[in-house]
């Protein structure tokens, strides 16, 4: 783990913790990994933690009384506590899932299952006349589950629009979120534009009309200090693999009073209270929402990732990315024919930059970059409606993290110029 120099990250030391950054790509080129928004790389501390679990403590969690099972259960519950503490939450309110997608679907299905559940769940029932509100900048994971919830229940989906500058159009709040609104679901930080959305005004409006609020924190928890109590929302979803943790683990934080009345989603072993052929009753949260043998090794790895990030300091992580994105915006502004989609200033904005290059399709920009070892993402980034909003089919996206340094931003900009040369548009 790297020792900090005051106020910034020691990126060289951090990079030494990430084995993959030592490999080369495309015939010997240095790997410049600028796709952390899709998934982050993993430090050796996380890989070691996961492996240690398998080599020493592996057993089925919550399903045995023997020593290995005790140790595995302790490791799993300690991991839950670490992840919860990382976002300032209580462990009993933190459900571990396979990814953020499952976390969001969990809420959507609990709401439709409420229709056939007990009386206490009735407050969650949706029907025709009710609305669910999202935004035009959502990742498909925070859009399609609500479309499908509406399809199942007869409710209607509405959305807040996005300004030309890539900000949420808060003018729409008062009309789009109204008394029919039962839930507002939106991204804390856009995975395409890096926009950090203001939470307080949305929560305020939702409270006025009695709607619940779900925050998709996939792109904020890894990059900013996030305190669940401060946000005052009802649900927060995030993914482990985007925050230095293993694949296959994510989390849903839910307000206790809601988790308690929510009917189960996935059902099976370890989420029950009693089971008879004639019917079953269910355990208290968070167990109610974690059926089956859980991904304990991955949870342990995610806890190690939280420890790693905490040791770096999330304020420092945010400052580092803030500096990088400012530099990237400046450098890209120097390149004629490059248009950034989203905020062009560094105000309320994370380390993700999407852009289009006049006359070159993003796939072709990406191909040239890839040929130079610069790994960016091209496409709609699972936020297709946002691409349409800006009249493009796709963009090129660079996203930064703790191991990204300024030379990598330079490599990106050089690569864009090389693409312009190659396709003769410069």
């Amino acid at each position: 783990m790297s020792v900090q120099t005051a106020g910034s990250l020691d990126v060289a030391r951090i990079r030494a913790d990430f084995p993959i950054l030592r490999r080369t790509v495309r015939g010997g080129r240095r790997l410049v990994y600028l796709d952390s928004g899709a998934t982050s790389q993993k430090p050796v501390q996380v890989l070691d933690a996961e492996r240690r679990f398998y080599e020493l403590h592996n057993a089925a969690v919550h399903r045995g009384a023997h020593q290995l099972s005790e140790e595995a259960t302790d490791a799993y519950e300690a991991a839950r506590a670490t992840v919860a503490a990382f976002v300032g939450a209580a462990p009993s309110e933190l459900v571990l899932t396979k990814n953020a997608t499952e976390a969001i679907n969990l809420v959507a299905y609990a709401m439709s299952n409420a229709a056939t559940a007990g009386a206490e769940a009735q407050q969650l029932v949706l029907g025709p006349g009710d609305t669910v509100v999202v935004t035009e900048m959502e990742h498909h994971a925070n859009l399609v589950p609500w479309q499908e919830l509406c399809r199942r229940t007869g409710a209607t989906l509405r959305w807040l629009s996005v300004t030309d500058g890539g900000r949420l159009d808060l003018d729409g709040l008062a009309t789009v979120v109204d008394c029919s609104t039962r839930l507002v679901a939106f991204a804390h930080q856009s995975n395409v534009m890096g926009t950090v959305n203001p939470v307080a005004p949305v929560v305020r409006r939702a409270r006025e009309v009695g709607a619940l609020v779900l925050l998709d924190a996939c792109q904020s928890v890894p990059h900013l200090p996030v305190s669940v109590p401060d946000l005052d929302v009802d649900f927060v979803a995030f993914s482990g693999h985007k925050m230095l943790g293993p694949l296959g683990v994510g989390a849903l934080w839910g307000r206790r009073s809601l988790l308690e009345v929510m009917p189960p989603f996935l059902t099976g072993g370890s989420m029950i209270e009693t089971v008879r052929m004639e019917g079953s009753t269910y355990a208290a949260p968070p167990q109610r929402f974690e059926p089956g043998v859980p991904a304990a090794a991955q949870a342990v790895g995610l806890a190690a990732a939280c420890d790693y990030l905490s040791a770096l300091g999330m304020e420092r992580v945010a400052a580092h990315e803030h500096a990088l994105v400012g530099y990237a915006l400046d450098r890209l502004a120097e390149v004629p024919g490059v248009r950034v989609i989203g905020p062009t200033d560094t105000e309320a904005r994370g380390g993700t930059v999407s852009f289009v290059v006049d006359g070159i399709h993003p796939h072709d920009v990406g191909q040239v970059l890839d040929d130079l070892g610069v790994e960016v993402r091209v496409g709609h980034h699972c936020a297709w409606p946002l691409a349409r909003r800006f009249g493009v089919s796709a963009t090129t996206r660079a996203s930064f993290y703790v191991y990204t340094d300024q030379t990598e931003v330079d490599a990106l900009v050089d690569g864009v110029r090389r693409a312009q040369d190659f396709f003769g548009v410069s």
Binding site: H62, R63, G64, A65, H66, S69, E70
Partner: protein
């Protein structure tokens, strides 16, 4: 060999010769608790006296030595006591059981129940030791409500 540390003689005694076992009349409230991990079941009745003391606790169920013995010890500790005192004892017991063997329990208060400190080292068995106490707490709370409304 740590078995003897867990299964103290006093535990085995209560297991073989449980106190206050069997369901008795009269009672204010009857509850049924289960341990979802092993399927153990306990039916427990509470009768509160006019002054709010615990007049009787009776029970029946299936369970392992730890849950049976703990329930037996619990009845010794709560019957005849003022309810707040009984609940406070239960709280002490809970704290001891969550201590992972680290607690230095107060024998003045917990009496025979101090024998369960060895069990608290085994997290999977903690629920067994708590089954009776949880059922009592639940039944007592309901009984108070019943009395208040009645």
């Amino acid at each position: 060999m740590q078995l003897e540390q867990m299964y103290q003689e006093v535990i085995l005694d209560h297991y073989r010769h449980p106190h206050h076992r069997g369901l008795r009349e009269p009672f204010d409230v009857q509850v049924h608790h289960v341990n979802p991990t092993c399927g153990d079941e306990l039916t427990l009745r509470v009768l509160l006296g006019p002054g709010g003391d615990v007049q009787d606790v009776s029970y029946e169920g299936v369970g392992c030595s730890i849950s049976q013995a703990s329930t037996s010890v619990m009845t010794d500790l709560v019957i005849g006591r003022p309810l707040p005192e009984a609940l406070a004892t239960g709280q002490r017991f809970l704290e001891m059981m969550q201590s992972r063997g680290e607690a230095e329990p107060d024998e003045e208060i917990l009496e025979d129940a101090v024998a369960f400190v060895g069990v608290s080292k085994y997290p999977a068995r903690v629920k067994c030791a708590l089954l009776g106490w949880m059922a009592f707490k639940d039944a007592a709370a309901q009984a108070v409500t019943v009395k208040e409304q009645g």
